[in-house]
């Protein structure tokens, strides 16, 4: 037990990200409703963000915003004191992208509903084959 806790602490973030990603992926593949799929898509994307941020985390470090000294003198910045900023930057971009995709997907869902009055994939398929 004493060995297990450090191991879990060391890796659980990664394991849980995998689980989250599996949930998202499953929803995207197996769900029947288009909006559910969009949700799955978003979960999938957040899982990736979680993964990246887990990479960037550093124990006993503070936010990647440098504390400017109170009297204006610049303290020496030590890399160990700050969390890795690069994954944050990357993930900001990724979030933006996912929002954009989300908006477009929603717009499309509205369009599809306008046309077919349903968002269930099997019903859509039926409608398509009827025409």
């Amino acid at each position: 037990m004493t060995d297990l806790l450090p191991l879990i602490v060391a890796k659980y973030n990664y394991w849980l990200y995998v689980i989250l990603m599996m949930i998202g992926l499953y929803a995207m593949i197996a769900k029947n409703n288009l909006i559910k799929k969009v949700v799955g898509m978003n979960i999938f994307q957040t899982a990736i963000i979680l993964f990246y941020l887990s990479i960037g985390y550093k124990k006993d470090a503070t936010l990647p915003i440098v504390e400017v000294g109170h009297e204006g003198q610049e303290a020496v910045v030590r890399a160990l004191d700050y969390i890795n900023p690069l994954p944050h930057v990357l993930m900001l971009t990724a979030i933006v992208v996912s929002v954009a995709t989300f908006g477009v997907a929603m717009a499309l869902a509205v369009r599809i509903y306008q046309r077919y009055q349903t968002l269930e994939e099997d019903e859509l398929r039926m409608r398509l084959s009827e025409e």
Partner: protein, 274 residues
């Protein structure tokens, strides 16, 4: 499909779990990811750019090129929603509401057009009058939210936030206006055309600032070259460049969020939303 999905998911999960086997421990300061590039950013940012928020500095300067395209993505999303949903056709059936009394007229004849103005307003069949309490409270809240959004944009250098977040919050304030009153209020206040122009201009500010650096003798995006154009301490020129860029991002994002919301919620008819 469910079974297939399950199998795919399990395979992917197995692959990823296999990959985690050799991961360095969570939060390990000595992992390669935290030592190679990031140290440079952490140690040099303040010195090189005078911006305490490293994330902003990396976002808008070191990797500003990414962010430029990120903004383009947002712009593109807005444009897409507009293209997909915007519907300019006039409906044959129309509803009018007499403003002072709240009487609703249902006009079935497409020829007859009531004058929309002070007395009558054009509504759709989903019309529900907005709630007084919500309306009043939101009326008070919205300017504060907006000033907050602008604060977030302006303080991207010092605190979390920046153009994108500020833009989103500003956009939400507009959305709040649309929710608490109705969509028409928003559309009347900020015309669709203005939003469209804002979206393009926002990205254009970014790309423009980046492009100006080239005739000034630097590489693309090299804000350092803007020193002759800007007032103030030349050491701060990069920070100023970033600020300009953030403002562009904020403008674009604000406009795009509003565009997306308006188009989705009214199916592109811009009459009545949530």
């Amino acid at each position: 499909m469910k079974f297939l999905g399950f199998i795919v998911v399990c395979l992917t999960g197995a692959l990823l779990l296999y990959g985690t086997g050799q991961f360095p421990a969570w939060g390990d300061p000595g992992s390669p990811a935290s030592t190679h590039l990031s140290n440079y950013y952490i140690e040099k940012t303040v010195e090189q750019t005078q911006v305490p928020n490293i994330v902003t500095a990396v976002l808008a300067d070191y990797r500003g090129f990414d962010t430029m395209f990120e903004t383009s993505v947002i712009f593109c999303a807005g444009l897409t929603c507009f293209l997909l949903l915007r519907d300019f056709t006039e409906k044959k059936e129309r509803f009018y509401r007499h403003r002072p009394t709240g009487v609703i007229l249902h006009v079935k004849d497409s020829e007859k057009v009531l004058k929309v103005g002070k007395e009558f307003e054009h509504i759709d069949k989903d019309f529900v009058p907005s709630d007084l309490i919500i309306k009043t409270v939101c009326r008070i809240l919205i300017p504060f939210i907006q000033i907050y959004a602008l604060y977030v944009v302006a303080h991207g250098d010092f605190s979390p936030g920046g153009g994108f977040q500020g833009g989103v919050i500003f956009g939400s304030s507009l959305i709040l206006l649309a929710i608490s009153y109705d969509l028409k209020t928003l559309v009347e206040r900020i015309k669709e055309k203005v939003l469209g122009i804002f979206a393009a201009v926002g990205v254009l500010i970014y790309v423009g600032i980046a492009t100006i650096c080239m005739p000034m003798g630097g590489n693309f995006l090299n804000y350092g070259m803007l020193a002759p154009l800007l007032p103030g301490d030349p050491r701060h020129v990069r920070a100023l460049g970033m600020l300009g860029v953030e403002i562009g991002v904020g403008l674009a994002v604000m406009a795009v969020m509003a565009i997306i919301y308006i188009n989705i919620v009214s199916e592109g008819r811009h009459d009545e939303g949530l």
